[in-house]
């Protein structure tokens, strides 16, 4: 399909065509970006079904806000911002519900994260190549929604601190400290499981 339309060769062309009301142009954007958006939100949620729902939500929001895309960032970066916000909202809502449950069952002294739905990916879907890979999901679940989003955007997507601040609607300094906390928490969680201490060699 992309070969038959000039507008389909670039994101800018497809966006402009979609703005005229052509859903096929938006379909091109969905097909081009759905995998990368999936990877982003999967890394944040560590859950396949959440990731699938969030991709859908991201593209619907992007479609409704398409007139607000000003082209200063690439379409992919703009899409990542929407996806990161959708995922952050989901994680915050889930963590808030978990905290309420903990408050209600305070006497049980249970770990709040244990009351959340399992974030472990199904074994048949994900084969991790290392011990870190096996432990990463539970370790990520110990991060706040903002810490997860900031870390994933910086570490996996290579976004700048400024971009992360804009995406998460926080000041750059807050974005930077979210990354610091995420790194610290991940090292403590993973290195303790791996039998080494932060600062020493893996």
């Amino acid at each position: 399909m992309e070969a038959t339309h000039g507008w389909a060769t670039t994101d800018e062309g497809a966006v402009a065509e979609a703005r005229t009301g052509n859903p096929e142009a938006f379909r091109v954007l969905v097909e081009r970006h759905s995998r990368s958006v999936y990877r982003l939100v999967y890394r944040m949620t560590q859950n396949e079904h959440d990731a699938e729902d969030l991709v859908q939500e991201t593209f619907l929001k992007a479609c409704r806000q398409l007139h607000r895309f000003d082209g200063r960032a690439s379409f992919g970066t703009w899409l990542y911002r929407i996806a990161a916000n959708c995922a952050t909202d989901l994680l915050r809502a889930r963590q808030s519900r978990a905290q309420k449950q903990v408050a209600f069952h305070a006497e049980t002294e249970e770990n709040p994260m244990e009351q959340m739905p399992s974030h472990a990916p199904s074994p048949e879907r994900l084969s991790l190549s290392s011990e870190i890979g096996r432990l990463l999901g539970p370790a990520m679940s110990q991060l706040s929604a903002q810490e997860r989003a900031a870390f994933v955007l910086r570490h996996y997507e290579g976004c700048s601190i400024e971009e992360i601040g804009q995406a998460l609607k926080v000041r750059p300094n807050a974005a930077k400290h979210s990354i610091f906390r995420a790194v610290q928490k991940l090292r403590r969680a993973l290195e303790s499981k791996l039998g080494v201490t932060a600062g020493s060699s893996l």
Binding site: G21, S130, G133, H155, Y156, A198, L202
Partner: protein, 239 residues
């Protein structure tokens, strides 16, 4: 010598530390070793793969969202294109209504008395008012439903608001002249909000956007504009 903190090492890893930290790491063996350890950890975390989404889900994705995408894109296109088409015609109609009402009452061509009969004038006025409120409603609804983000670009809404202000003023004066107090009051309230929108910065902060949204929601303006607009247009078409 004070060694680098873990946060400084993290910035070094991402290439965002300053020269002082970089120089220190180059000269300090313990910090260099800690940086190497951090880099090994961070690289290992980055290397954890994420599987591609399920093939069947990818096939279902577009069919699942296509109806909503089509509706959203179509609604926006029809709304804006209608605005552009109606603009000049409305201005002309308003001018006819306004001047015919205020200044030409006794100067109508006697050979065509029906041209500016009270019924004709009322019909034009009602349809014009209905269309004006319909277009205003689109601007107000766009802003009322705008998602909060760090900075929101409202330039397209501002351009339309600026164009609507002149028409609104003419309609308000016509309503006042003809003694329609309720329409005059509604148009007065609308005019103030349109002026606020037109005079806002092109990029509004989330706080400024919230202020605009509060103004739009105040005294049920958006609801009244929608209801009165639809009623006037219907009434005018029946005349």
């Amino acid at each position: 010598m004070t060694h680098l903190t873990e946060d400084q090492l993290t910035l070094l890893y991402y290439g965002e530390a300053g020269d002082v930290e970089a120089s220190h790491a180059a000269a300090c063996e313990p910090c260099r070793a800690r940086l190497a350890s951090l880099a090994q950890f961070m690289d290992a975390v980055r290397s954890v793969p994420v599987s591609d989404p399920r093939a069947e889900w990818q096939q279902r994705l577009w069919p699942a969202i296509a109806p909503q995408v089509t509706e959203a894109l179509g609604r926006r296109r029809s709304g804006w294109s209608r605005l552009w088409l109606l603009g000049p015609g409305l201005a002309a109609a308003l001018a006819v209504v306004f001047f015919s009402g205020m200044y030409l009452q006794n100067r109508i061509d006697r050979s065509h008395p029906e041209a500016f009969s009270p019924k004709s004038r009322e019909r034009v006025l009602l349809i014009t008012m209905g269309d004006h409120l319909d277009r205003s409603q689109i601007v107000l609804a766009e802003l009322a439903n705008a998602p909060e983000s760090g900075k929101t670009d409202i330039s397209s809404e501002q351009q339309l608001a600026s164009r609507l202000i002149g028409e609104n003023r003419l309609l308000r004066q016509t309503a006042q002249y003809s003694g329609d107090a309720s329409d005059a009051a509604l148009l007065d309230q609308l005019e103030r909000v349109l002026l606020d929108i037109a005079h806002s910065p092109t990029q509004v902060s989330s706080g400024e956007l919230k202020d605009l949204q509060d103004r739009i929601e105040s005294q049920g303006l958006l609801f009244k504009v929608r209801i009165v607009g639809a009623a006037d247009r219907q009434k005018g078409l029946k005349l």
